[in-house]
């Protein structure tokens, strides 16, 4: 199945990906966010915020065909 991954802030720099661009990944059913990150070359320990289709998710959340995933490091502001 196919999913899209969007990577932000210093995670993008670390993985040499463009901020916020959609990267397509082919993954097996049952794949977790943590497994997707490994495939993308992103250290899961650097990831603090995970969203699947704009909803909050966890590193062990399972992704479905067509999902759009966004990941961030620790972020703050106000």
């Amino acid at each position: 199945m196919r999913v899209k991954l969007r990577v932000y802030a210093n995670l993008a720099e670390g993985a040499s990906m463009d901020v916020g661009d959609n990267y397509d990944f082919h993954v097996d059913p049952g794949t977790t966010i943590a497994q997707l990150l490994a495939k993308a070359g992103i250290n899961r320990r650097d990831v603090r915020i995970v969203m699947i289709n704009n909803n909050q998710a966890e590193l062990n959340s399972t992704i479905q065909d067509g999902d759009e995933v966004g990941v961030f490091p620790s972020m703050g502001g106000a």
């Binding site: 210093n10 916020g20 972020m75 502001g77």
Partner: protein, 592 residues
Amino acid sequence: MTDRILRVNMTNLQTTWQDLPEEYKMLGGRGLTSRIIANEVPPGCHPLSSSNKFIVAPGLLGGTTAPQSGRISIGGKSPLTGGIKESNAGGVIAQKLGSLGIRAIVVEGKAPAGELYLLEVMENEARLVKVKDLAGKGCYEVTDAIWDRYDKKVGVLTIGPAGEMCLTSAGVSVTDPNGSPGRFAGRGGLGALLGSKGLKAIVVLTDKTFEAHYYDEERFKAAAKRFVEVLRKNPVSGQTLPAYGTNGLVNVINEAGALPTRNFREGRFEGAENVSGERMARLIKERGGKTGHPCHPGCVIKCSNIYNDKNGDVLVSPLEYETVWALGPHCGIDDLDAIASMNRLCNDIGVDTIETGGAVGVAMEAGLIPFGDAQGAIGLIEQIKQGTPLGRIIGSGAAVTGQTFGVERVGVVKKQHITAYDPRAMKGIGVTYATSPMGADHTAGYSVAVNILRQGGYVDPLSPKGQVEISRNLQVATATIDSLGLCIFIAFSFLEQEESLGLILEMINSKTGSAWTAEDFTRLGEEILKTELNFNRRAGFTEAEDRLPDFFETEELPPHNEVFDVEPHELDTLFNFAEEVKKDAGKAASLR
């Protein structure tokens, strides 16, 4: 040295020094401004009357070597909300006043009509000087003129033409260590309050910065040093805030479907990447600006920045998330240079960027100009400076603009505009907007940390459950942090690093000789909120004002298609520690 309050009577043009009353000994910043207002300002007074007072107060830790201790609180009865108000900013004057032992400046009375003054504050002397040449001048020009007159080491607090016109979105500018007047106590129309007094600027004439006196300096410095290490170790305050500024939030909040777009029609903005913190940081680097810039002496987080234009000249400092949102996605504008230009204009005119962006978005909703029209937006803001009737309407904020043009979808609470998080997709912040005595103010209880940023726990942003409790806890803690004069961004450490609270208490105790515990930290926050709530009740506010505009409860926000559904009776439990204030409200209202 005895700490003092400087009283400035604009009616008889006298200044007097008052020894700090015992009651105020452990209060600073918001705690002190709110207590003085409650003690001295009639709640029913007109905000522009001579009975209202404009109060400036550094935090309890102002003038010390504590990191992040340079916030300056401005307080008064708000010309915008009609309730109690504290708005704080960075810049240099908190550390200067703290170093001089000046715990507050209280501006009272009202100058004769047509007269404009500047207040010089020195270590043991203060003087009102009549100024004709500064009338109508913007904050950049005023600051330059003051530096020419004195020198660049002075701290300047000033208002722009909007404050002189008593427009209710007028804020108060404070100069930063680089001399930019872009540090704003923007919210609540406090610039109009100073304008009504006939006071254009306050100049603090001292080189002193970290010279507060301590009960036990050695203990204090050890705790402050350790706190610096803790803040630097935190990934938010040590890494992403300095790298992307607060504007790093654009992509986070957009990805969460909570970025209010085109006056709260949608929760995602197609142009978000163009105005994001990552894009901003790249442009700043390419154009020779600066990220990782401190807004006040003693700031180690450095979330500020200097944003240059295409030619490499300084356009504005800083460019921040709430401003970028209000003048950007809220108005359907995705041009960061246009947003920065509008930010500079707002700083110069002396208006709150959030309220101004809010009003421009409402004007777009009304069809005055189309969404996405950056040049049209700039034109509207320029009219504020010119003082045209339309400019004065926009400069009076979103509520007045909406009322004038018959717009229903106006995102205000207590007439103050909501900020960059849609409460339908992030319900915790909706609770704070609805209930804060300040009106809609995200900083009063930043539930975003828990709903979205996963700092200090997690509560599902789309569920109404648990939101009142997180907002309550954050509002209480924030009131105390605002009283210490600490930057709100220490909260990311406070929420995640256990050591933080102990270090803050150690700094309080070694500064003052007290023996505060965590309970005292909470008690102070609760007492401040009770004081503020009590003032608002006596000013005529009821629980009916602790609500979001009803379109948030009836119009679904894409992409989550949620409404705000925290029940009103739950909102009314937010101040469950202040039941006596609520009971007294009816009685007090009859005494007004």
